[in-house]
Symmetry: D2
Subunit: 328 residues, 4 copies
Amino acid sequence: MERSALYEQLGIRLDMAVEAHEILRQERNADVPGVRIIDGKHEHATVTTVIVESAEGEQAMGKPRGTYITIDAPEIRVNNREIHQKIAAVVASELSRLARLGPQDNVLVVGLGNWHATPDALGPKVVDMTLVTRHLHKYAPEELQGGLRSVSAFAPGVLGLTGIETAEMIKGVVDRTQPSLVIAIDALATRSVERIATSIQLADTGIHPGSGVGNKRSGINRESMGVPVIAMGIPTVVHAGVIAHEAIAALLQEFQTSPTLYKLYKGINPDALQSIIQGVLGPEGQELIMTPKEIDQLIQNTSRIVAAGIGQALHPGIDTSGWTQYLQ
Amino acid sequence: MERSALYEQLGIRLDMAVEAHEILRQERNADVPGVRIIDGKHEHATVTTVIVESAEGEQAMGKPRGTYITIDAPEIRVNNREIHQKIAAVVASELSRLARLGPQDNVLVVGLGNWHATPDALGPKVVDMTLVTRHLHKYAPEELQGGLRSVSAFAPGVLGLTGIETAEMIKGVVDRTQPSLVIAIDALATRSVERIATSIQLADTGIHPGSGVGNKRSGINRESMGVPVIAMGIPTVVHAGVIAHEAIAALLQEFQTSPTLYKLYKGINPDALQSIIQGVLGPEGQELIMTPKEIDQLIQNTSRIVAAGIGQALHPGIDTSGWTQYLQ
Amino acid sequence: MERSALYEQLGIRLDMAVEAHEILRQERNADVPGVRIIDGKHEHATVTTVIVESAEGEQAMGKPRGTYITIDAPEIRVNNREIHQKIAAVVASELSRLARLGPQDNVLVVGLGNWHATPDALGPKVVDMTLVTRHLHKYAPEELQGGLRSVSAFAPGVLGLTGIETAEMIKGVVDRTQPSLVIAIDALATRSVERIATSIQLADTGIHPGSGVGNKRSGINRESMGVPVIAMGIPTVVHAGVIAHEAIAALLQEFQTSPTLYKLYKGINPDALQSIIQGVLGPEGQELIMTPKEIDQLIQNTSRIVAAGIGQALHPGIDTSGWTQYLQ
Amino acid sequence: MERSALYEQLGIRLDMAVEAHEILRQERNADVPGVRIIDGKHEHATVTTVIVESAEGEQAMGKPRGTYITIDAPEIRVNNREIHQKIAAVVASELSRLARLGPQDNVLVVGLGNWHATPDALGPKVVDMTLVTRHLHKYAPEELQGGLRSVSAFAPGVLGLTGIETAEMIKGVVDRTQPSLVIAIDALATRSVERIATSIQLADTGIHPGSGVGNKRSGINRESMGVPVIAMGIPTVVHAGVIAHEAIAALLQEFQTSPTLYKLYKGINPDALQSIIQGVLGPEGQELIMTPKEIDQLIQNTSRIVAAGIGQALHPGIDTSGWTQYLQ
C-alpha cells in the first residue's frame, strides 16, 4: 500500500517537495525520473534542492516544474542569536540565488495566514518584522543611500475573515503597486515532527491551490499574478492523520519478519486503512493538527530568522552583521 | 484670537464636523452660512447631523459638501450589553439612512489604522468582528437565506509598516472585488475629552487626506475609489496641543472681568500663543496624544458596538435581538 | 496489552477521571470496584459523575478519593450565546453542588497555565474574565448589595517563567488572603479529540502532581493549601502518543477476525509497542500535542462559559439572565 | 503660586525624585537642605543621583530618605541594538551599586502594573523577558555553572483585576520564597514629555503608596516586605493636568514683563487655578494621561533594556556582549 495514495485519500497534502520526493524514492526504491536532487551543507544548516525538470517529474511529484530549496536548521530551536544570524545568512543567500534581482527591482512581501491562529500566523509575523522602504523611495528619494531596495509588505488575511480570496486581494495590490517580484510567506504542513519551525522551503513556482496550513483556494504564482512569485514556506504543523498512519506503518514494519504478516501488510486495502484512521481522528480529523507545546516561541524565532534572511537578500547594502539591530 | 486659526498653525485638524461647526458658531456668534444642523435624541444617544450644503459652507468648515452624522453615546463607557445593543441599533439606523443600499448591493468594510498602536487599532478591530459573507455568496449560494448581504472586510495596515499608501491598497482591492459601497472605519482626534470612544461620526464624503489618528496622505472617497465611500470615525485621542490651548483659553476667560486683561486676551498674537504651546509640548509635541487610562477597554466596547451596528445595517434579515450572539 | 499500562510507559497521564474509568471498564469488561458512576442529562450538556469511594478505587483509577464531575457540551463549538449561557448555568449548578459555600465564605480563583502558549492559556483567560469583588468588600462595604460574594483571582504563571513552583506561589497568596475555598482552573489533556474545549471536569480533590498540559510538580489541594480546593479542568490537547496508539489499536481490532492475528494482538509486548510509538513521535514526542486548528477561538468560547459559570455559582444574587452583560 | 502645592491639589504625584528636586530648586531659587545631588555622564546616558539625607530633605521632597538614581537615555527611542546594549550596561552598573548583593543572595523580580493597559504594562513585560533560574537552582544544582544567581520573577496584576492588594500578594510570595532582595518594576508618571520611556529611576527606598501609573494603595518596601526592595521606575505617561498647568505657567511667564501682570501671576489663587484646570480636563481628568503615539514600540524597547540591565547585574558570570542572545 503506497503512502502517497493513502495521503491523497486522507486529504493530506505534501507541502514540502523534499518529503514528496523522499516518499516516492522509498516506494519506488529508485530515482524519480524528471527530478534532480542537489545536497548542500552549511555550519548550521543543510540545504536540499529538488529540481522538477520534466512533465514526468511533475506528474510523479504532484508539483509543477521548478526549483524547491529546503533549508533544515534544527538549531532554530536553540535560543542563540549568533547561530540564528548564521541561519538567516543561509536563507538570504538561497533567496538571492532564486530571486536573481536587478538593482532597480522592487519587491512585495506577502504574509499569508491567520493572525489569530498561532501555527498559521507565521506569514503575518514575518511581514511585521520586514523592513519596508517603498514609501521612502516614493516620498524621500534623497535619503535612500546604502543599498535599500524598494520593498513593500502586507498580510492579506484569510478568506474566512475577509470574504475575499487571498489571491484576489494580492492581485489587486500587485496591479496597483507593480512589484518586480512577489515573495509569499506561508505556514506549511510537514510529515516530520522534527521539521516543525526548523525548516524553510523556497520555491520559484509560487504557491499552488490547496497547500499550506489554511488551505488556499487559488494559486499565487506567475500565472495568477503576472510577475514572478517566490514561495517561502515554513512547516508549523503535522496533520494528525500522518501520525496515525506512521504508527500503523511502523507496526506493520515490525510484522515483516513473518511471511504471513508481510503478505497482510502488502495486501492491506487502502480504503480499509483510511477508514481506520478516520475512525481514530473523528469527524473533525481533517482539521486536527499537531504542534509542539512551545510552538508560540518557535514561531517567534523562525519569523525573526526569515525576516532577517529576506532583509539581507533584498537590501544587500546593509552590513550583514548589523541585522539584529533592525529586528524586534 | 481665533481657535480655528491657531489649530491650523499647531497642525491640529478638526476631524469631527460637529466640533468644527461648534467653534465656528462660537467665534462668529452667528449661524454658519451653507451649513445646516439637525438635532435628534434617542434613549441612549444624541444624534447631530451637520450638512455642508454650499461652497461657502465648505470653505468655512474646511470640509467637503456632504452629510456628517455624529452619534454621542456616553454610556458606551458603562459595561452594559443591553444599552450597548440599543446604541448599536442607532448606529445601524443612521448608517442605513446614509448608505441607501439596494438589496443586491455588496459592501466592502475597510478598517484603517495600526494594529500595534492601541488608540489607532479601532478600525482593524471592527474588521475582526465583522460578519463577512462574500465567500459564501461566491461558493455556496444556496445557503444564503435570511437576508445575508455579500460583505467583505479587510485591514490594509499603515504606510509605515507596509510601504503602500492605504488608498492605493484599498483601490487595488476595490478594483478586483467591485463592491457597491465602501465603509471605511477610522480612529479620529477630538477636542473634547468626553467624546473619546463614546462618539461615532458617519460621513457620506468618505475620508479626506490628513485626517485621523495616523495621518493618511491621500483620500479614500468616491473620487479616488470610483464607488461611494461612507466614513465611520470614532474619536480615540485628543491632541496634547488642544489641552494646552484649552487651559490657556480658560485662564484668559477668567481675566475677562478686567477691561485691561480683556484687551490683552483679544489682542494676543497667535504666533506667540503657538510658540508658548510648542514650548510646553516639546519637539515631539505633534505626536503627543491624550487618552484615558482605560483606553484598551473602551476601544474593545466601541469596536463591538460599531461592528454590531454595521452588521444590523447590512444584514437586515438577521433578527436584531440576536446580534450579541454573533459578537465576540 | 492494556492501554492503561502502555499510557503509563509513554508518560501519558489520564487527566480526566471519566476517561480513566472508561478504559478500566473496557479492559476489565466489568464494573470497577470502589468507583460509582452517576449519569445526568441536560438540554445542552451531559453530566457524568465519577465517585472514587475506596482505597481499591483509588488504586485502580490512579486518582485520590473524591468526586469528579464531567460536563460534556459539544455545542460550545457553536457560536451561539444563548446556548453558551445555558451551558454556563449547568457549570454553575454543578460547581455550587461541589463547593457547598456558606453565605460569608470568600473564594480565590486561580488560573494555572502559561499565557504565551495557546492551549495552556485557558486558566489565565478565565481569571481575566472573573468578576472580582474582594477589594470592594475591603474598602467599600456599603456598596455590597445584591449578593456579591468576596472573590479574588490571580494567575501564578508557570515554573519555567517564574522560577517559583505554582503551588508555592498560591500557598503564599492563600496564607495572606485566607480564602475559604480555592478554585483552580487548568487546561487538561484528553484521549478524545471530541472533548477538546467542549468538556469541563470539576473535582473536589484539587490538582495532583504531574497533571495538566504544563505538568505541575506539586499538588494544589487541601493538603498543600490548608483549605478545600476544587479543580476545574478543561481538556485542550490530545497527546500525540494517544493518536499513535489509537491508530495501532484500531488496526489490531480489525485483525481480530483471524484467530492467529488475535493471538498476536493479545500477546504483543508493551515495550515493543512503546518503542514503535516513540519512534514515530521522535525525541520530542512527549512534548507533541494535538489541537484543532481553531483552538484559539474555542478557548475563547470555553473561557467565557467557565467564567460565567463560576460567576453565577459564587454570586447568586446577580440575575442569571444578565450574566452576558458582565462578560467580555 | 507654587507648582508643588498645585500638583498636590490636582492629585498629581511627582514620581521622579529628580523632578521633585528640580521644582523645589526653582521655587526656592536655592539648594534644598537635606538633599544631595551627584551628576554623572556616560556615552549614551546621563545619571543623576538624588540623595535624601535628613528629615528636612524628606519633608521638602515628600519622599523618604534614600538614594534615587535617574538614568536619562533619549537614544532608547532610536532602534539601534548596540546603543541599547550600552544603555543596558549603565542600568546594570547602577543597579549593582545600589543592590550590593553577596554571591549567594537570591532575588525576586516583581513586575507591577496591568498587562491590558499599554502604558502600565511595562512591569509585566520586563518580568516576561527576565532570565529566571530559581527552579534550576532547586532542581538541578549541578548545571549551575557560569555565575547564574537564583532569580525568580512574577507579575502580581492589579487590584481591580485580582481583588488582592499588590503588596499583599508580593508579601505572600516573599514569605514562601524568602528572597534576599526584591526588585520592583513599575511604570511612572513624569512631568516631562521627553522622559517618557527614555528615563529609568532606581531607588533603594522601594515603592511608596500612591505612586505609579496605576496607584498602589500600600507600599512595597523594606518595612512591608521584611527584605530590601529596590524600585525601578520608568515614566510612561504625563498627567494631562501637568500639560494644562505648564501651558498656563508658560503664558503667565510671558506676562512677567508687565509689573501689573506679574503681580497677578504671583497673586493668583491656587484654588482658582485648580478649578480652571479641572474644568478643561473634565470629570475624568484625573484619569487622563498623555503618551506619544508610538508608546507600544517605546515600551517594547525600554522593557528589553531594563530586562537586559537586570540580567547583567544579577548574573555577572554571563558575558555582557552575549546578552542580546537571551533577549526576545
